[in-house]
Symmetry: C2
Amino acid sequence: MNEFELIARLTRALPGNETVVVGSGDDCAVLDVGAQDRLLLFKTDAVVEGIHFTKATPPRKIGRKALARCLSDVAAMAGTPTAALVTLGLPPGFEVSFVEAIYAGLNELAAQQGVAVVGGETTTNPERVLISVSLIGFVPRGRLLRRSGAKPGDAIFVTGELGGSLAGKHLDFEPRLVEARWLAEHFPIHTLMDVSDGLAGDLRHILNASGVGAELLKRAVPISRAAQLAAKAGDAAKPAFAAALTDGEDFELLFTTAGRLAIPLLDAWRKQFPKLRLSCIGKIVPGKQITIRDQRGAYPLNARGYVHFTPAKSHLADGGR
Amino acid sequence: MNEFELIARLTRALPGNETVVVGSGDDCAVLDVGAQDRLLLFKTDAVVEGIHFTKATPPRKIGRKALARCLSDVAAMAGTPTAALVTLGLPPGFEVSFVEAIYAGLNELAAQQGVAVVGGETTTNPERVLISVSLIGFVPRGRLLRRSGAKPGDAIFVTGELGGSLAGKHLDFEPRLVEARWLAEHFPIHTLMDVSDGLAGDLRHILNASGVGAELLKRAVPISRAAQLAAKAGDAAKPAFAAALTDGEDFELLFTTAGRLAIPLLDAWRKQFPKLRLSCIGKIVPGKQITIRDQRGAYPLNARGYVHFTPAKSHLADGGR
């Protein structure tokens, strides 16, 4: 049973109440807290030593990442983050300066984004550092972007470049808050999320929630320089395109809008965000599958994000990609 | 440096914004989220295997406790809890039935209290189970009870009985939500908190926040049967009265109101909550100290919650108490 299957099982019987607009299963929970013009976003996310960072990671970057991951989830709802609580699990005998540096990195990003850090707690986690951040934010009422809104004929977009995040980006990424709000304000976006588990897996969440399939153009998927370099050096566990599809922690935006708006959106984006690449990587189609199309044809991608290349012998002659 | 000193150091430089009504340093953070009639409460709390529960603790009780601790903090603000997120750190190879039982215990209490569980996440914490719960709730605007409102002449009250929680109550306690709201609605309560770190330490938080001292009547402090039994059996690390002052995890309410209201409040309480003991344990006085008064005189309590009995030789003859 993987994480998603476990969560699906656990979330079947969760108690609700009349404040819940969106419960589990989207980037943030959404609650109606009685404010006339907006809904509350509520999210929690944890980072653990040895998994999301190492003993060698500078503590400022650990603190920054712990908050940035939550901010990316608020971006995925086109929301504005407001306040955070920090839970710090620490081995006994930790250095105070280490903890202060974690907070310094977290506070700096919070201040940049207008987020108040309103407390939290420290507890003992004897073997390793663990940081859980809770975040609330807001989204205008009537502008809620869920994973379930994708429609056949939609164009699929992704910001930035994908893959190879472990080379450094996973500690330094910019949550796409401004970009997501701009999109929601200027275009009828159908669905929006952040790419945190890899494009293939996260697109799968949109497709499942929306009851549709997708066709991706291999050439259009933006592959990061880090993933390309790793593949060229021959020390990567997977080819660069597979890295772009399945590496985690990209924290870019993945969204769809009606296909006829693809060109106007790309034009407007380039004017608004000239430094951040936006790629139209394919389209939403009827069905359930993700299909990869290149100059030789179309190939299915399996549900887990693993690229299924076996039918394409000509590809093996092309370097295995 | 203890937990409180560390937190004091870390919270000096936390970023804020215009939504913050109460930041760190009270039972919950309080935020103005634009709802006309109420303020948002925001709290997070973690329990860790080997510290807050053991490998032998039934998982339903672990889940219940993880939520109940947060609920007690909402009670400490006389608030109403609304929605929770659950972060579960699990060693690899955990049993799914174990996780389901944690959720069952948590969900049952949530449903009883009208709290929606709106998601969360699982992450790997290789050596031990850790559960962090985030909770939001509400308090009516204008009825916010802080730790800083105690005034000389106030009567000090505590619900239930104190000490010896480890014998079982720490897993089964009832968060005093109904009682706290009733108090806030019917009496001009000056200050309110929950007793989670022991009466002496928690009263100290109120005194520091309010700039006052307190005099406790030894005879009036309600000592739990568990603490009394442990002391009689001779296997307790401390006498029963010291247990009542310094054991943690009582999760009772500690509050003050004007002394002239003490009798009317006790009378009204008995009618409203005939099954839950309420004790007037002393009064707020000028100064900074906590003084313990018994039939022989008055003795200071030091700041850390440790009972300082050395001046009282007659007490040593009385069995060290």
